[in-house]
């Protein structure tokens, strides 16, 4: 019974739970309830991933209306993988939430926070699970609207302007996507992704489809924060509550990357995107520029959260660089880094949240000697940072390794060299934290602080352990990513 309805249960569960959060009295019970819901969602995601690994893609006709007339939920290896990632991060971050939320969000807003969090989770999972182009837009807006709300919960008043700017840019991006979908519908009369893919073959020489492709590309790169369309990201990540930053940084942009892959490879096809439209001419320079500019800006930040936010923009550059090769190795690198970066950034932002809880600041100047004041959290931050640099035995190394392989395979030596040089920039910005925390004395007037509570330590270390463990034992992530990349390039719907 459950096995047959896995795709829809993923969505229904958090969606129905969200309004219940607001109704639950006493408020103490909200968090346990949300925690159960999120872990149940993770369980469903794991079951679905398992089912896809064993028996291939799942097609689910929503409400019994057969595709292409009804909305089809279609799960293959790629989206099962991304769904599992999103559900995992959601479930792990929620363990961390209560302590941090108590500190950063007012009493009367807490149940709304959890409701918005679940709605955001619903939206992100929905984007991944659906096989209908218009449905993607709807879920995209569900997740975006709840994200704007979540960001605006930050204590700093700049959280409000950050949320507002994200709202304006996010809506422009979503509207561009809507225009693209509309133009595709105009030429094909269908919204089902598999159906679109086959019908576009006949009409993809027309101006309408080329314009649709352009609108979709721009809209999606805005949503996934590819340089130079990333301007909404740094402030949104910096001023949002810690829990929100960790969740959004690890999932929202990654899901947008997934949608980009889905539209470019499954619907339009690699031949059209790379052969006719030459999207690589645009992606490759922008990705490299993003890596360098964002890393360089990160070096000069005095706010640790903002530093990591700019680092996110750079890391998205790596993901898009892998995709821009359009080869199996390149796509594997992109997909693996999508997963790895989510783990690393999730862990790093959780660590930053713990620091904020105890020290009450994330300005680097206030963190002098943190290695002595909060040794465990500082160590976690350094481990996560090593992953961002791409030190062997961390997941970051695996992604960079495949990225280099892809560049060499394509014969683009300069790109390979640039990737190596850019890692040095990551070294510099991570070093800024290491220097502050370990090589500067603890100020005399610094009040004594303890480590973060256990409930915040466990999720952080869980993600760090995954980021190290999957860097040592690489076959599962690489294997899945490789199969997903093959699947995407084969053009099978």
């Amino acid at each position: 019974m459950i096995a047959a309805h896995l795709p829809i249960l993923q969505i229904i569960l958090p969606l129905l739970a969200a309004p219940i959060c607001v109704l639950i009295r006493p408020q103490k019970l909200v968090w346990p309830f949300v925690l159960i819901v999120s872990w149940a969602t993770l369980g469903l995601a794991a079951m679905m991933l398992n089912q896809v690994l064993l028996s291939g893609p799942i097609s689910y006709a929503l409400g019994g209306w057969e595709a292409p007339w009804g909305i089809e939920y279609r799960v293959d290896l790629l989206n099962a993988f991304v769904i599992f990632l999103v559900a995992l991060i959601g479930a792990v971050v929620l363990i961390y939430a209560p302590e941090s939320v108590k500190r950063e969000i007012d009493d009367d807003r807490r149940s709304y926070f959890y409701a918005a969090f679940l709605l955001c989770l619903t939206g992100l999972l929905g984007i991944c699970v659906t096989g209908d182009a218009f449905n993607v837009f709807v879920f995209l807006e569900i997740s975006s609207l709840s994200t704007y709300g979540l960001i605006s919960l930050g204590r700093d008043r700049r959280a409000l302007t950050a949320a507002y700017n994200y709202l304006i840019l996010g809506t422009i991006g979503a509207t561009f996507i809507l225009i693209g979908i509309g133009l595709m519908y105009m030429m094909t009369g269908t919204l089902n992704m598999a159906d679109l893919a086959s019908r576009l073959q006949g009409v993809n020489h027309t101006r309408t489809i080329q314009v649709a492709f352009a609108f979709l590309s721009v809209g999606l790169t805005l949503k996934l924060a590819l340089f130079p369309l990333h301007i909404w990201l740094p402030n949104a990540y910096t001023y949002a509550p810690s829990v929100v930053t960790a969740f959004v940084a690890a999932t929202a942009t990654k899901v947008s990357v997934y949608v980009f892959l889905r539209f470019v490879f499954t619907i339009f096809g690699a031949d059209f995107a790379f052969g006719t439209m030459h999207i690589d001419y645009l992606l490759l320079p922008l990705a490299i520029a993003g890596i360098f500019v964002a890393s360089a800006v990160a070096i000069y930040q005095s706010n640790l959260k903002k530093l990591l936010a700019y680092s996110s923009v750079a890391q998205i550059g790596y993901i898009m660089l892998g995709i821009s090769f359009g080869s199996i190795t390149g796509l594997t690198a992109g997909i693996v880094h999508l997963f790895n970066h989510a783990l690393m950034k999730g862990a790093l932002f959780l660590a930053v949240g713990s620091i904020f809880l105890r020290v009450n600041s994330v300005q680097l100047d206030d963190l002098s000697g943190l290695g002595k004041r909060m040794p465990v959290t500082s160590f976690a931050l350094v481990l996560g940072g090593l992953g961002l640099i791409g030190v062997p035995l961390t997941v970051g190394f695996i992604s960079k390794w495949y990225l280099l392989l892809a560049a060499i395979e394509a014969g683009w030596w300069p790109v390979a060299v640039l990737v190596l040089i850019s890692s040095l920039l990551a070294l510099v910005y991570i070093w800024r934290f290491v220097e502050t925390a370990y090589f500067r004395p603890v100020p005399d007037d610094a009040p004594p602080v303890s480590e973060a509570p256990l409930l915040m330590q466990i999720p952080m270390w869980l993600l760090i352990a995954l980021a190290i463990g999957l860097g040592v034992q690489t076959s599962s992530t690489i294997g899945t990513a490789q199969r997903a990349a093959l699947w995407l390039l084969s053009g099978a719907p």
């Binding site: 837009f137 302007t161 709202l167 304006i168 422009i172 509207t175 809507l178 509309g182």
Partner: protein
């Protein structure tokens, strides 16, 4: 000539889209930006509604003696998009209210000044 007259609603779409987009980018007042965003979104609604029109078709209700109907699907789709647009506007406006409470202004340049400090 048919390029202009035959496709006039698409020209209206383009005009509205650019007007709205220009407002979002050029205005410094947060409310005016939202109005621009609304015009921008409305133009897309019009685009969808125009494409559902079938020449000579009537409203898609089964009736005797009618063979061609307009395509109702884009209209239904755009109902969803309108709802999304309203939700976005209300979230945007409520953010503006809170920004005004926090900064006492809704002009972008003044907010920037207040944030960067003297």
């Amino acid at each position: 000539m048919s390029q202009i007259l035959g496709l006039y609603n698409y020209w209206v779409v383009v005009l509205l889209m650019m007007a709205g987009f220009y407002n979002v980018i050029a205005r410094g007042n947060l409310i005016k930006k939202l109005i621009g965003l609304n015009i921008f979104q409305t133009s897309v609604f019009l685009l969808y509604i125009s494409m559902g029109k079938v020449e000579g078709g009537t409203a898609p209700i089964v009736a005797e003696g009618v063979a061609t109907y307009s395509n109702p699907l884009p209209h239904v789709l755009i109902l969803t998009a309108i709802v999304v647009g309203i939700a976005t506007t209300s979230v945007g406006l409520s953010l503006v209210i809170r920004i005004r409470e926090a900064y006492d202004t809704i002009e972008e340049d003044e907010i920037q000044q207040l944030d960067e400090g003297p």
